[in-house]
């Protein structure tokens, strides 16, 4: 935890205790939560618009209005910017380093949703300088962190509870990402897939509110197609699916190469002496600038314009392949050097180039078979998203959302699935988790969380192996039945359909204190066995065991019918078997 965090927690200590608030204004947090979600959305939207404008201004000032090979400024701008950014990060804004996604996750899971004002400002300034001056990084992930930071500041300002404060980080993250990407559904899904890790009804409404608010603000400025113009996308011929499958394979392999390159270079650069950290972004900037200087200035910066051009068929497939490869190299250099900036835009760039390359190739050699190049570029973006960022749900919805056309759902799912499975089988650890481990943090794996299998009662259910008797059965008969069955307990069904699980000791006690012809129901305690059904979570059973020797599991349609029973041993064994 840094100094800012400590200062803020001191302030928090001075605030009224939560139990006081619960008494004098019990619904205050809940009401503020929704109102603040809208405020967070609007503020994030405005900040992200400023952020993107700042990037564009810096780009024009440093690289000129039309960068082209052979301009010395292509070498100078990213190098000098690297020096400035490194100094800012090392001396003033250490938390601004990196993309922003993992930092937001760390804020959520480690720092109780706390992101300092300094981090927000630092991220804004350093990422804008780096991206604007040509480093091969994108503004989406920083926007996500800026949004989360805004949310954190607002929540702290209103002195909301720590629990609420933690929830605000993903709300702001969704708002920031939605404004940057101009796609609220994708932003919401990404935050759920990559930041929260699981669907949570508690924050979903607020995430939606903030994401929509921020997108409304962003669209007010940029229009509905803020990032690139979406061409007509259709699936014309089922045979095209072969080409999309090829795209999926190409995307999966590219994602693997990209991940491996980052996984290799980043820790090595980080482990170098601290003084080198002041020069690493500059060196990376020089190398990225050299790529631009010697022929491929398109790889510098986020490259939205180039994506737009690729989508509209302005490049030959050979150039598109070259751009994809050089972008992987440039982004690996920029990101590994610790330059603040995101991975979203480069991922989309590489995907768009690969997709457009496949589309252009097909169009050139099989002109009657292929659809639009734009459709391939769009699907390519989703493919890299699925393969590299490993957010399969977001990748599908992102393409559908930005294209506004559901006719390409089949190619998207096919290509994304191939890329995802290929990438996953060859690179088991997702890239964000790789970064987390490299940074020495222990954050939950979102991919594992998504795929966690929740156990249900039916998973530990066993057939009824104890005697079942009616409530009017005499105690003498009950004792005899229990002895002959040699069971540890028995189940008693009462006249009102309720159940009672009676242990051997309980029966023995009743036999001592009551006469043998007394109905067993008169020996029972007033409570009854809980009503449990096979589809309920298995952990629901745990707190009943101290009281009951076993639990009858009922049929939902007919509560007098038993589906089976569970014992504490069954439940524990099931968990141990996981």
């Amino acid at each position: 935890m840094n100094a800012d965090t400590a200062v803020d927690f001191k302030k928090e200590a001075a605030a009224p205790h939560q139990h006081d608030l619960d008494k004098i204004a019990p619904s205050r947090d809940e009401r503020l939560f929704l109102v603040l979600s809208i405020f967070i959305g609007v503020l994030s939207g405005l900040l992200v618009v400023c952020f993107r404008v700042a990037i564009e201004w810096i780009r024009i000032l440093t690289l000129g209005s039309a960068p082209h090979p052979g301009q010395y400024r292509l070498l100078l701008a990213p190098t000098l910017a690297g020096l400035v950014v490194a100094a800012l990060v090392q001396w003033f804004f250490p938390a601004a380093r990196g993309s922003g996604v993992n930092q937001t996750k760390a804020a959520l899971y480690i720092y109780n949703g706390y992101i300092s004002f300094r981090t927000v400002i630092g991220k804004f300034i350093t990422a804008a300088i780096a991206i604007g001056s040509g480093h091969s990084l994108g503004p989406e992930d920083p926007s996500l962190q800026i949004g989360a930071g805004v949310a954190s500041m607002v929540a702290r300002r209103l002195r909301l509870s720590r629990q609420r404060l933690r929830l605000f980080a993903p709300i702001g993250a969704a708002a920031g990402l939605a404004a940057a990407f101009n796609a609220p559904i994708s932003a919401i899904l990404f935050v759920i897939e990559e930041v929260i890790g699981r669907w949570s009804a508690a924050v979903l409404g607020s995430i939606v509110l903030s994401a929509i608010s921020s997108v409304v603000v962003a669209r007010w400025f940029w229009g509905s197609e803020a990032i690139f113009r979406i061409p007509q996308v259709t699936l014309r011929d089922p045979r095209e699916l072969t080409a999309y499958a090829v795209l999926g394979v190409a995307g999966g392999i590219s994602a693997l190469v990209f991940s491996k390159a980052l996984g290799y270079l980043r820790p090595r650069l980080r482990s170098l002496a601290r003084w080198t950290h002041f020069f690493q972004p500059a060196l990376a900037g020089l190398l990225v600038g050299a790529i631009g200087f010697f022929g491929f200035p398109q790889v510098m910066g986020p490259g939205y314009g180039v994506m737009d051009q690729a989508m509209h068929g302005q490049f030959a497939w050979q150039l598109l392949v070259a751009l994809a490869l050089f972008k992987i190299l440039a982004t690996t250099l920029s990101f590994s050097s610790g330059t603040p900036g995101g991975m979203f835009a480069p991922t989309l760039f590489i995907g768009a180039m690969l997709g457009a390359a496949v589309g252009s190739f097909e169009k050139h050699y099989f002109p009657h078979l292929t659809g639009t190049i734009g459709a391939y570029a769009l699907v390519g973006m989703g493919v890299l998203f699925a393969g590299f960022l490993r957010a399969p749900l977001t990748s599908v919805f992102m393409v559908l959302e930005v294209s506004g056309n559901y006719s390409i759902v089949l190619p998207v799912i096919l290509a994304n699935t191939i890329a995802y499975l290929l990438s996953r089988s060859l690179q088991p650890v997702p890239i964000f988790e790789v970064f987390t481990r490299q940074d020495g943090l222990e954050l939950p794996s979102m991919e594992e969380q998504r795929e966690e299998h929740e156990l249900h009662i039916e998973d530990a259910l066993r057939p009824v192996h104890v005697p079942i008797l009616g409530g009017s059965t005499p105690i003498e008969a009950v004792s005899a039945t229990l002895s002959s069955a040699n069971a540890p307990a028995l189940l008693v069904q009462l006249w009102d359909g309720s159940w009672y699980a009676m242990s051997k000791d309980e029966v023995a006690g009743a036999a001592v204190t009551l006469t043998g012809d007394t109905p067993i129901e008169r020996a029972l305690k007033p409570d009854r066995a809980p009503m449990l059904f096979p589809d309920l979570p298995l952990d629901n059973t745990l707190h009943y065991f101290p009281r009951w020797p076993l639990l009858p599991i009922l049929n939902r349609a007919n509560k007098s019918k038993l589906e089976g029973v569970v014992t504490l041993e069954d439940v524990l064994k099931r968990y141990q078997d996981l």
Partner: protein
Amino acid sequence: MAVFELQPPLTAEERLHKRKLIFRDLISLSGLFAITVVLAVLTWFLFNSFARHRQELAQRWLARGQAAMADGHPEQAVEAFRSALEYDPAQRQTEIKLAMALEAADRVVEATSYFNTLLETEPGNGIINLELARLSARQANKSKAIEYYQRALDGTWQGDGYERRRAVRLELARYLLDQKDYPRARTQLLIAAGNAPDDPAIKMQIAGMMEEAQDPENALAIYRAVARQKPSPVQSFQGAGRVAYSLGRFALAREYLEQAVNHPDFLSEPDSVRTPVRQMLADTIDLLALYPESNLEIRERADRILHVARIAQERLQACSASKATPVASLADLAAQWQENRATLTPLTLARDPQLEQTIMNLIFDTEKQTAQACGAPTGDDALLLKIAQSSRSVEEK
């Protein structure tokens, strides 16, 4: 329900706390609102300033691209148009200019790909289809080129669509001529001629292309139509004379060629044009001097027939003598001349129009057969061969 649950009453101190809390929240929310408003205003100013600058840059790069194209630097134009589109993306005209610059820079694959993408969004755009036709033509894809040309003709055009379509049709005809696809070229030229305005330059162009398309009849009709106009260009007389000459309509050819030579603009024509016209006129005059025209006096006609008959016989004798072994066709002709020797007098010819025709046919056959056996003739024989090749149309006007 919770709403109706009785809450324990708040103490005076708690009520005070609650009021303070509400007041503080209101202040905080008001502050948040004020920050939002201030940030919105700042963003608005920043964004508008940026948007204006983008527009300026778009215009600047568009102008540079156009200038580069005009100066014959398509590579520079490509970069300039790309930059213009980056700052103002949805400009169809700039996109088309970029694609044309790519084409001009010989980046055919990129240009084709880009035009195809533009076509996806605007399949009926005339200029996009036209450019794709040109690219297909450059790539020697004839069927695609013709298909795109046809789509361009059927497509929409900005400005004077009528004029642009005619230009496209003539371009298609030119392409078909280059491909030696004369029947299709003639079809396009006939349509173009039918729709052409009363503009001598366009009609002359169409007539010239019809000549190339091996359609001299229609070419002559257009040249003559233009030549009838006042003032008429010297080229129309030249063209009419040339085509009439090629059709064997020598009387008509002489008429137009004389008008061409006497036209005041003829002297300003280059030598390469004047010399063949003069030669053609001289040939026509000589040729008509040999030809027994129908409007001549009977006696004069008979004298001319006898004169050309002598020329033909001399040609036959010379040709037969040059052959080491007798040629059957020449021997047959010699036999025919021998049969008609007695009739070759002015009087018999004047009396018998049928005989006139028979002798003329024999003369034509002699010139044709000797040309085949002994090669192209010269002098009067050459003129007679020309008459023989279009004997029915010499006097046609």
